[in-house]
């Protein structure tokens, strides 16, 4: 086993997973949309950090900066009907899945306009309309749920509707969850029961402050863990949205067709700390700069510019529009009222009894109806 930190060595951690993109025919408009999506997530996260420091956001807050290509590329590779579930670093997935940023921001502000009426918070983003089954705060807890979502789509398609299973579930986790029993039980069940679920490890090299090889065996080849459960494992380069899409599309199509699980070691890097209170003493500024040079946004921007598909003016106005959108979303969140005290007793039970007052949908879903 390597004694040097995997994550601190960009060349050994990230580079080997880079692959040439098979699909050469991705429309420019799509590429620009991905660029825009990634820029939106980043701007959103920056304003989150600001709002956190302004005490507008409480509790724990984990930002996604650096990993944008993963959420955007993976979501692009599946269909809207496919369920998606993730861990607590979930703002990026919510936005990539299509949640309007204002609901996501209002949720963190603890306001009634939030996607969960201010009751979930940063770590618990849910969006039924977009098949986002949460943000989950306990490391690894979402992995059996992911298996269950896949079980349910297959059961619905095959047992209830007597057709063929045709949905695939994406279940995101961090590399820290590799060491949770829940993941291993979930993988065993998924392998055993032929569940169409893809466990995507967003491997950013650190579980909180612990570099991966300090906490995980076979850190250099974590897909070997999936092999133990008879599950196909794929290593992917997570800093390039086109590569992510390209590889994930193949894998998702395969899982959908074969109704089998898969496991992805998605190499990526988080630029910021684990959470807002993380001083990042466990790594060097040099290391961070090294990775930032591989920035997924800069990468796609450069690619589009070099082929003259994106002008300076266009890029600038894109940035301005996104900044304006996020500014408006922060203002909207700030203007949204705090939840009424009656909300305290709402949504504990579907039914109404005792002090509990039943349930109702958040405005996010009501406004869509």
């Amino acid at each position: 086993m390597s004694s040097a930190s995997q994550a601190s060595d960009l060349a050994s951690f990230l580079a080997p997973t880079a692959r040439p993109v098979k699909r050469k025919d991705i429309p420019v408009a799509t590429l620009k949309q991905w660029l825009r999506d990634m820029m939106l997530i980043r701007e959103f996260e920056i304003r989150c950090m600001q709002a956190y420091q302004d005490k507008k956001i409480g509790g724990f807050c984990h930002v996604y900066i650096g990993q944008e290509a993963v959420a955007v590329g993976c979501v692009a590779a599946i269909e809207p009907k496919d369920p998606l579930v993730t861990a607590y670093r979930d703002h990026g997935h919510a936005l990539a899945r299509g949640m309007a940023p204002k609901y996501c921001m209002a949720e963190m502000f603890g306001r009634i306009g939030g996607c969960a009426k201010g009751k979930g918070g940063s770590m618990h983003m849910f969006d039924r309309a977009n098949n986002l089954f949460g943000g989950h705060g306990i490391v690894g807890a979402q992995t059996p749920l992911g298996a269950g979502l896949a079980f349910a789509t297959k059961y619905e398609d095959e047992v209830i509707n007597r057709g063929k299973s045709n949905r695939v579930t994406l279940c995101f986790l961090g590399d820290g969850a590799l060491n949770q029993g829940a993941l291993h039980e979930a993988m065993n069940l998924a392998g055993l029961m032929d569940l169409p679920v893809i466990f995507i490890v967003e491997n950013n090299g650190y579980s909180m402050g612990t570099a991966i090889e300090r906490g995980t065996t076979r850190a250099d080849r974590i897909i070997s863990k999936a092999a133990g459960y008879g599950i196909e494992g794929v290593e992917m380069y997570g800093m390039d949205v086109v590569q992510v899409y390209d590889a994930m599309k193949d894998l998702a199509d395969r899982c959908r067709a074969t109704s089998r699980p898969a496991f992805v070691d998605m190499r990526t890097y988080r630029y910021k700390g684990h959470s807002m209170s993380d001083p990042r003493k466990y790594r060097t500024r040099e290391e961070e700069e090294q990775y930032e040079a591989h920035d997924p946004i800069g990468r796609l921007e450069k690619q589009l510019r070099s082929t003259n598909q994106l002008t300076d003016a266009e890029f600038e106005s894109m940035g301005d529009a996104i900044r304006e959108e996020v500014r408006e979303c922060v203002a909207w969140a700030d203007a949204s009222p705090v939840p009424g005290i009656e909300e305290l007793y709402h949504d504990v039970y579907v039914e109404r009894w005792g002090p509990y007052t039943g349930t109702s949908l958040p405005s996010m879903l009501r406004e869509m109806q």
Partner: protein, 355 residues
Amino acid sequence: MTTIISQRDLPMTTLEAVPLTGPVPPSSPAREIEFRDAVREAMSEEMRRDARVFLLGEEVAQYNGAYKVSRGMLEEFGPRRIIDTPISESGFAGLAIGAAMLGLRPIVEFMSWSFSLVAADPILNNAPKMLYMSGGQFGCPIVFRGNDGAGGQLGSTHSWCVEGLYSNVPGLKMAIPSNPYDAKGLMKAAIRDDDPVFFLESERLLAFKGHVPETEYTIPFGKAAIRRVGSDVTIVSWGRPVHFALEAAEALAKEGISCEVIDGRTIRPMDWETVFASVRRTNACVVVDQSWSFGSPGSEVAAQVSLHCFDDLDHPVVRVHSDDVPAPYAFNLEQEMLPNARKICQAVRTVTYNA
């Protein structure tokens, strides 16, 4: 926060005891079946009614259930709906919760609730909180069921009374039936419930027989049954200890002490109105709960009764629990640990000043 309607001013309502052997139908010949059959009938009927319902757990399919509750279900419903799992409680409980979020209605059998401890995170952190955390977007219509409490000399790791742990959690419902009639009616209600239900059976009651009609019925949650009408003391219990309470009431009747025995049936929600109305008549209350006393459902009942019936009490509420020790193996020690009839008699004599 519970709003309680004052019963003191209302006319006395019907007092009718429902025996543990179930209400006997007036005309057609009564049919007696075991507790385990009642649970199975409920599951099978609901599975026939609703394709979204399925059963999974250890040994539920090919083995016909470790305690034969699911006997024959594999033949009827096939392996897609009666699903054997590996010994992997955390995994399959979480899997079922994910399925429930998507709209299925899983029934998860824990061979023993003692084994659910390794699944504590999904069953406590996910199932009961999903609706709340998602702001009403995703509910969790799921039933967890299995044997709870002392079996027969199973020792400490296998004798958990999880009601002491889990009833603390808002967002879940908990049914603890004491007899076959209730088991079927409550199970059907549990499967149809949109909220997660923890359904606690007792290995000791699985062979207990009672009248169970073949006709369709469900028992609403939060409706207690009066097992015995009495005037001197209200004994509140649920699940297997109801049997101990009735045994004690019988013995105490010979001493001239008339016990009213209330079977809570569900403890979340608890039928406070029935409990309070009874205590207001008897002026004394004993709570019998097989979990440990510290921070238990029994202490909740004692606290609520003390709060709502303070001026009606002639003696502080006394609780009878399992002794505050790990469950022992030796037969005599286990019997002594349980909230047995002897302890209940003593508690009743205490609260009625007959000690």
